[in-house]
């Protein structure tokens, strides 16, 4: 069978995800996907199309022994990882943790932003403890990403805001207790960087970032005056210690 015809490839990807591709063809397809990024994308597209159907399946509680078995199997491999790979710096161990850490975000309603967050985290085997937040609107639409880098914050625009002739966007760090602290005005349309002298101290007890709409030049009072357009909890990603 030829696998170069795009329609055929798409049909096979759909059939694989639906489950009607079976037997030897299924196994062969799995091997093909492993080495064919374009085909893998097609599979992912169909997964995104069809898998949400499963959301209406009535839940059934599994017995407790399933979790005990999972824990036992994980503990076993984890001990092997510790014993054999103490000096390994591949980062795969920590990378996988990004998912659990971000699960907290998903559970608090930021799931749509999760994939962006992990995509941001993954390429940086950061030397220092990294901070990242995906800022979403009250409707849960991710709009901006804030990442901590050495000595500065990168503010990335996921989706540009409409031009605001009368206003500026101002970034705030919201500490666990107390009032938001200004991090300055950021661009509504393109990525920007925030640099300030006492940045680390300003961020030290930060729990979330938020963007508010302010008059040109930023809030005159030092506290947010306009509406909060988007906000997001800060996820701290562990540094890699070798």
């Amino acid at each position: 069978m030829k696998y170069t015809n795009p329609d055929l490839r798409n049909a096979l990807a759909a059939s694989f995800v639906l489950g009607t591709l079976g037997g030897a063809a299924r196994r062969r397809f799995v091997r093909l996907v492993a080495n064919d990024a374009d085909l893998a994308r097609m599979v992912e597209t169909w997964e995104n199309y069809l898998t949400p159907l499963a959301s209406r399946v009535a839940p059934v509680e599994p017995p407790q022994r399933v979790w005990r078995a999972i824990e036992a199997r994980i503990a076993r491999t984890q001990n092997q990882v510790r014993a054999s790979a103490n000096a390994s710096s591949t980062g795969s161990w920590w990378e996988s943790l990004a998912f659990w850490r971000n699960w907290g975000l998903a559970a608090t309603g930021l799931a749509a932003a999760l994939m962006i967050a992990t995509a941001v985290i993954k390429p940086q085997p950061a030397a220092e403890s990294a901070m990242v937040a995906v800022l979403s609107t009250p409707e849960n639409v991710p709009r901006m990403i804030v990442e901590k880098h050495a000595g500065m914050l990168k503010v990335k625009v996921v989706k540009a805001w409409a031009t605001l002739p009368e206003n500026d966007l101002e970034l705030w760090v919201v500490p666990a207790k107390g009032a938001p602290r200004s991090l300055g005005v950021v661009s509504h349309a393109k990525d920007s960087e925030v640099r300030m002298a006492n940045l680390d101290a300003t961020l030290a007890d930060g729990a979330a970032f938020a963007i508010s709409k302010e008059p040109k030049g930023g809030s005159p009072s030092g506290a947010p005056t306009g509406p909060i357009l988007c906000s997001g909890a800060i996820a701290k990603v562990p540094s890699q210690r070798v």
């Binding site: 049909a11 759909a14 059939s15 995800v17 639906l18 489950g19 009607t20 079976g22 037997g23 299924r26 992912e44 997964e47 995104n48 199309y49 069809l50 898998t51 949400p52 159907l53 499963a54 959301s55 209406r56 399946v57 009535a58 839940p59 059934v60 509680e61 599994p62 017995p63 022994r65 399933v66 979790w67 078995a69 999972i70 199997r73 994980i74 491999t77 795969s92 990378e95 996988s96 943790l97 990004a98 998912f99 659990w100 850490r101 699960w103 907290g104 998903a106 559970a107 608090t108 309603g109 799931a111 749509a112 999760l114 994939m115 992990t118 995509a119 985290i121 993954k122």
Partner: protein, 168 residues
């Protein structure tokens, strides 16, 4: 350890849904338990791969569970069950709630709406394949239709779903 705690919470939040998805496909509880176990060990080890996907977390995990279920189903050579049982299993969850927190809700509305727009036979064959893991030949014998007809229903149904979802 914090990550184990997060993993335990993830399991607690998703186990019943994912177990149900698998149970419909593999049909037997002990097989669905095996699927759930394998899938979560897999999720633990390969969560790093999640970063390169464009999927909501629940979609990513459900796909892992469905793939494992289909592997095991094909391994065991399961036979078609009777119609009543299939239809009973197709009853919908009246309260598909937790997914609001898992980022699949909007997509779920779209795909259900698009599925509703298909012809009855297209819809039925796609639903039977998706939820119950029926192969083409099992679909043909279940729906009492020639194999070629069933394949056409599925192919056309999938294309229409794609068109519908592509616009969503």
């Amino acid at each position: 350890m914090a990550d184990r705690q997060a993993f335990a919470e993830l399991y607690a939040a998703t186990r019943a849904k994912l177990f149900a998805v698998s149970l419909r496909i593999v049909r037997e509880r002990h097989l669905a338990e095996e699927v759930l176990q394998d899938s979560f060990v897999n999720i633990w080890h390969h969560a790093g791969n999640y970063a390169s996907t464009r999927s909501a977390p629940m979609t990513w995990m459900t796909a892992i569970v469905r793939n494992r279920s289909l592997d095991i189903l094909r391994r065991t050579g399961w036979e078609v069950q009777d119609e009543d049982e299939v239809m009973t299993n197709m009853l919908e969850d009246p309260a598909p709630l937790p997914d609001a927190a898992l980022g699949t809700n909007r997509d779920a509305h779209d795909v259900h709406r698009c599925l509703d727009e298909l012809d009855a036979e297209q819809r039925q064959s796609i639903a039977l394949a998706f939820f119950h893991g029926l192969s083409h030949s099992e679909l043909a014998s279940h729906m009492k239709k020639p194999l070629g007809t069933v394949k056409t229903h599925i192919r056309r149904g999938l294309l229409r779903l794609k068109d519908c979802l592509g616009q969503a």
